[in-house]
Symmetry: C2
Subunit: 323 residues, 2 copies
């Protein structure tokens, strides 16, 4: 039973099926291999992407078995990006457990991520999915990679402005949310307009989700977030709160600290306080609110049904975590 | 013009087309991104896999445009594994140029490899390829990952025996050679038996190729190989020559050096001389010869045509580099 979905027993039950498909796909005669994935899969987080895919498909009609495999594919792409993200971020923990890169080494994690990426495509090739679905998924992954590469390329530089930030997160986060809605809707044989509307919902949820995630780095504490606070900052990733704060940093107070080659704890505290002083958090919230508002407007335009109601209440729970 | 293929102008011309398709697939508005791939693509090595795919397809008939995209996909998978391999091996050089991981950082290289993996699938989704082709390719990549993971898992251990070594290289190398032949043959609509025969040729070439590569680590010098000699050894990868030498290492002379946590240059020299003394190279050559012989037997069973002749002469050039 997935805690996040306890109010939706049907979705929770379906997510368990999806989870078992993923577990089965990494099963291997090499036990160490199988076991390395299990903590990540078992404590599967909220499984938002497959859940949205399942909910989206309910606006039409489809074969459930194919649908579950499709949902598993999308989640496997997400898990693969998490495994590779942890290499880049040097993260010790993932969802409260030791990350694959920390436990088995970065080398192992590179191939473990590759394995999951490709398992997603082997899964898709089992059924006679439309080539369109395959194209959508591979394009979404390409967008994720480009987003991550851009983010990495522009680290430690003041070149990340609002426009670039939006491009980065629309790739690294929103693309997979949008895909989840679109793939579900297409598999459910929804009409083109409904597919587009659901895709927009996914995009706006993804954008709001990432903005909130980034601003929580400046307000949350280590325990609340489950990952080191300000870790992005230490790695030179200047996210929305910094971008906005720099706009009001006339005396170059913040800018001067960011120019240092490494940050000590004192620097981090000072940066956080300057980000607050220069309205970085407030303004970031405004952006998140804007995407949230758009998502709700889109959701209101969906056909009225149980699925629409669930999507709405989940998005409320998800995006209202700060305001 | 690809030097390795100068005696086959037609294949050489087709490989240039394939290379341009790959270049186009990484073209991007972000110039730094596009440029990071170019050295690897431009000096495209021998392009064995796409060449074998093209040659294999000639045993039947097919649409050339689709075929070139398929050949590009297979080469992109190979390039993606090279990019990720260089992260794992910490390689400074790749084909005489600075590797992506060295020039742009490991983080960048993780996503650059992911990007190429997925571009392969976006490429495949452009055409209405048989789902079978997709399944074959994703399975081959899964086999490559498993091979690499196994190799990594068993590093610095004496647990790698001949059986395990064969399993490792059949995944990390032979799978993609076999796939290249199979995908070409299937796209050429060859009958099932011919597809299988071509697949076996690819498998045996791949196995022989890797055995030779591994034994050359113990006989070649740095300049000849284009990568640091004995690099595998320094990373704890015990390949065929070591496995055989250990069988005759009754006094544990070799075994005791391998037990050390790091090897200095003197240790490496000693290991290499012990490997020679205990017939590690000789016995490895025998294994390589066995696979080479099988490949030639298979090739002789192919329908007599220009393609058969080219495959035979290329395999002679490729596998006779040591004996």
């Amino acid at each position: 039973m997935n805690k996040f979905w306890r109010d939706c027993p049907e979705i929770s039950r379906e997510l368990d099926i999806v989870k078992n498909i993923i577990k089965k796909s990494v099963s291997s005669s090499e036990k160490y291999f199988e076991e390395s994935f299990l903590p990540l899969i078992e404590d599967g987080g909220k499984m938002l992407r497959p859940a949205f895919l399942l909910l989206s498909a309910r606006f039409g009609q489809c074969n459930q078995e194919r649908l579950y495999d499709l949902a598993a594919s999308v989640e496997m792409v997400h898990l693969a990006t998490l495994i590779h993200d942890d290499i880049i971020d040097n993260s010790k923990l993932r969802r409260g457990c030791e990350s694959i890169q920390s436990k088995y080494g970065k080398e192992y994690a590179v191939y473990a991520g590759d394995f999951l990426f490709c398992k997603c495509f082997s899964m898709l090739s089992q059924h006679d999915y439309k080539t369109e679905n395959l194209r959508d998924i591979s394009r979404a992954i390409n967008r994720i990679c480009m987003g991550e590469i851009k983010q990495y390329h522009f680290r430690y530089t003041r070149k990340v402005n609002l426009r670039r930030y939006i491009k980065i997160i629309s790739g690294k986060t929103a693309a997979l949310f949008a895909l989840s809605f679109i793939a579900g809707a297409k598999e459910g044989n929804c009409d083109e307009e409904l597919v587009k509307l659901l895709g927009r919902i996914g995009y706006n949820i993804g954008m709001a989700f990432q903005c909130i995630d980034d601003l929580l780095d400046y307000v949350g504490n280590e325990n609340e977030l489950g990952k080191s606070a300000q870790s992005d900052l230490k790695q030179g990733y200047y996210t929305l709160p910094i971008i906005f704060a720099l706009e009001e940093d006339k005396d170059k107070e913040l800018s001067n600290i960011l120019d240092k080659s490494t940050f000590n704890d004192g620097d981090i505290k000072k940066i956080v306080s300057l980000v607050k002083k220069y309205n970085g958090i407030e303004k970031s919230m405004k952006v998140a609110e804007r995407y949230t508002k758009k998502a709700f407007e889109n959701i209101d335009n969906l056909p009225k049904c149980e699925s629409q109601y669930i999507i709405k209440s989940v998005v409320e729970k998800l995006l209202n975590r700060t305001f």
